[in-house]
């Protein structure tokens, strides 16, 4: 699986997964999912939980994982897939999860893990009561697809007659759930009369990542605690007070993240434009430096090549091309260029040097991370190397998706992503 390609696709391809009333399933990237899912089922599924992956892509991963046989997979992989499945079932907006379940019905997918997943959604969903009220016919369809129509209806009839634990009910239904009492209550409710016009919540009951709430007006000091503290330091604030806080805030950002067992060469643009001016002074440099601090904590071996006057004295021109060559000389697993995108010595040099690397026998991956003031900066004139993989970042919250995207490009990063996602799955991080 081409992890950088697949992850970028997951984070940027926004077309929804749709299922028409007539049962036509539409996903324009089905082949990419099929290929990736078959080549590395566990890695593919874990990628869906990387921060920043689009909800519609997570739905596709859930669909592919549940529609595909797990024959031949070892027990460890099956356990991981089960965890990912559960995270996605309850981490997706209910409407999207139900589209997946209905698509499975359409595809006549009836593997054991499919059945378990459908029943978990119907019987264990935290908002099941409201969901059943709002989507009763669809959920009945899902339930009957999972158990088989005759079995499902037989279970419902028995429950309606007061059965709470017969052998039939246990072997056909209750063995799939850890909470038989709740399951019985929900099956009864599933087949009860409905209420017209009922609505259910549209947000996921167990979100996969925190909802980002930012101030409407961006300032240098409301783009995350690490950058804000750096801005105060740059302005000459009291180091005795700010330095310990900086260490604390950096530790909070990196808490629970595994170490990358490899080397990263960071080309850090510290030219005059990174300092900025006026109301935005220090904003861009502070966020770039915040990333540097985070990388220093997370990466086993980090080498920083400063381009310009240095973080302590940002001034002068931007020679990214020489910075890249200096970085490659250190023999890293990955080169990350962090810049505002203004290359003036001379514009086009970075693109030419990057384009030459393959023929010069250099296979080290190079990525470009563009530091911006806000998420709305116009980057038309700020793309020094269009041929390089690139991402923009402006807020500390962006690091959650920026780090996996960066590391996905190098060999040690693939295991880093796996470990980081598993840590999240096991509750190490929200």
């Amino acid at each position: 699986m081409d992890i950088p390609l697949v992850l970028s696709h997951f984070q940027t391809h926004t077309a929804p997964l749709t299922l028409t009333r007539s049962g036509d399933l539409t996903w324009d990237d089905a082949e990419l999912h099929r290929t990736a899912g078959l080549s590395d089922p566990e890695g593919y599924a874990l990628l869906a939980l990387v921060p920043g992956v689009r909800s519609s892509q997570r739905a596709r991963v859930l669909l592919h994982t549940l529609a595909t046989s797990q024959a031949g997979l070892d027990e460890r992989t099956r356990r991981t897939l089960a965890k990912v499945t559960r995270a996605l079932l309850f981490g997706l907006p209910p409407a999207e999860a139900m589209t997946v379940l209905l698509a499975l019905r359409r595809l006549r997918a009836n593997h054991k893990h499919t059945t378990r997943a459908v029943l978990a959604f119907v019987l264990e969903h935290p908002d099941a009561a409201a969901l059943i009220e709002a989507r009763r016919p669809a959920l009945v369809d899902c339930f009957e697809h999972a158990l088989g129509k005759a079995t499902a209806r037989a279970c419902a009839r028995r429950i309606d007659e007061g059965d709470t634990g017969s052998d039939y009910l246990r072997s056909r239904l209750l063995r799939f759930t850890a909470d038989p009492a709740t399951a019985i209550e929900r099956v009864w409710y599933l087949y009860a009369p409905g209420t017209h016009g009922a609505t259910a919540r549209t947000d996921p009951p167990v979100p996969l990542e925190a909802v980002r709430a930012h101030e409407p007006i961006v300032t240098p000091t409301n783009r995350g605690d690490v950058a804000a503290t750096l801005v105060h330091l740059y302005r000459g604030g009291p180091a005795a007070e700010l330095r310990p806080a900086l260490a604390r805030y950096t530790a909070e950002v990196t808490r629970g993240l595994p170490r990358l067992p490899g080397s990263v060469a960071l080309v850090l643009d510290t030219s005059g434009s990174m300092r900025g001016y006026g109301d935005r002074e220090w904003a861009v440099l502070s966020q770039a430096s915040a990333l540097r601090l985070v990388l220093a904590e997370v990466v086993e071996e980090l080498t920083v090549i400063e381009v310009g006057g240095g973080e302590a004295n940002p001034e002068g021109a931007t020679d990214l091309a020489t910075g890249l060559l200096d970085a490659l000389d250190t023999g890293p697993d990955l080169v990350a260029i962090v810049t505002d995108g203004y290359e003036n010595l001379l514009p086009g040099d970075l693109a030419r040097v990057a384009a030459t690397l393959p023929r010069a026998g250099v296979t080290v991956p190079v990525v470009l991370c563009q530091a911006t003031f806000s998420g709305r900066d116009d980057l038309t004139l700020r793309n020094p190397a269009p041929g390089l993989p690139q991402r923009r970042f402006w807020h500390q919250d962006d690091f959650a998706e920026l780090l996996p995207w960066m590391f996905a490009h190098c060999a040690p990063g693939r295991n880093w992503i796996r470990t980081a996602v598993l840590n999240r799955l096991e509750g190490g991080r929200p």
Binding site: Y277, A317, L325, D340, N344, L346, P347, R359, A360
Partner: protein
Amino acid sequence: MTRLDTIVPAPLDLTGYRLGTPQRAGTLTMVPIHGPSRPGFVPPRSGLKLKQVVTYGKVELHNGAPEGVAIVPLHIGYIQDGAQNHALCSSALIAAGQTRRFDDACCVQSGQGGYLEGRDQWFFVLPVELRAKALELRGRENYAKLWPAITDLNRGYGLPPRGHLEQILSRKRAVLTQFQSRLELMPGQLGALFFLGETFAGLELAPDPVYFAEMWMALVCFAYGVAAWHAEPVPGPAEPYDASGLAELRELLRSDRAARTEEVASWMPKPTRKVELVEQERYLDLRLSTVTGGGLTGQVVTEHGRPVYASLFTPR
């Protein structure tokens, strides 16, 4: 190309000034100038203030510094929302604490009412396309005198043909101000050569790096940035070097850059002896003169024959 005195001919004595490595942003090339600093002049942003617009075409500037002469930058203009924006046609010398009235200022926003006041204002330098005309009109009292040239400029850039410079300076401000970052002010830099494409566009020299730093935005974004914005090239695909290893690639990059620096040197106008200086005003040992000839025009401030300020450009 490392010395300035070999480029700009006598009678300007520019010995001691050195040229740095060229930087480029689209079609605009900037060559930094370093050299002898003459501190003590009042910088244009932090020291010189627009006091008021007395009436259309009549502007008062104030040097509020306790000491030091303010050199009014050539073709400085002030923008303020909801007011008639003005630009000056010539440079000037204002002593500490003095207010000076300019009766030959030009309105750069036809049909906009209101007078500029000394608040919420930012300054610019007239786009190089207008500077020769503005200099030619110095001393003539007519607030609308630059409107035809502004109209032509707007028409040439596909904008409504009006005497509104604000159509470019304010409405295109987001893209123009990027030149401040696309070109980087160098430490200790006190001047610059500007080229548009392969054509010499202007020479700007300040008394010291502090003064020049305060001029930086007005020069790169507005004086020269407007023409560069209009001629922004579409970047082509990156052409790889023919290198088989990193060391070879580094060497090819170095030699390619050296060649491009030499190429910039070839764009300089050929030195000529036909430059003339005509003194406009003096303050103690300072002389403000207008320069013409040799393909250049503009103004310089000299002290004992040595320039402390210069704004020279190619008439367009």
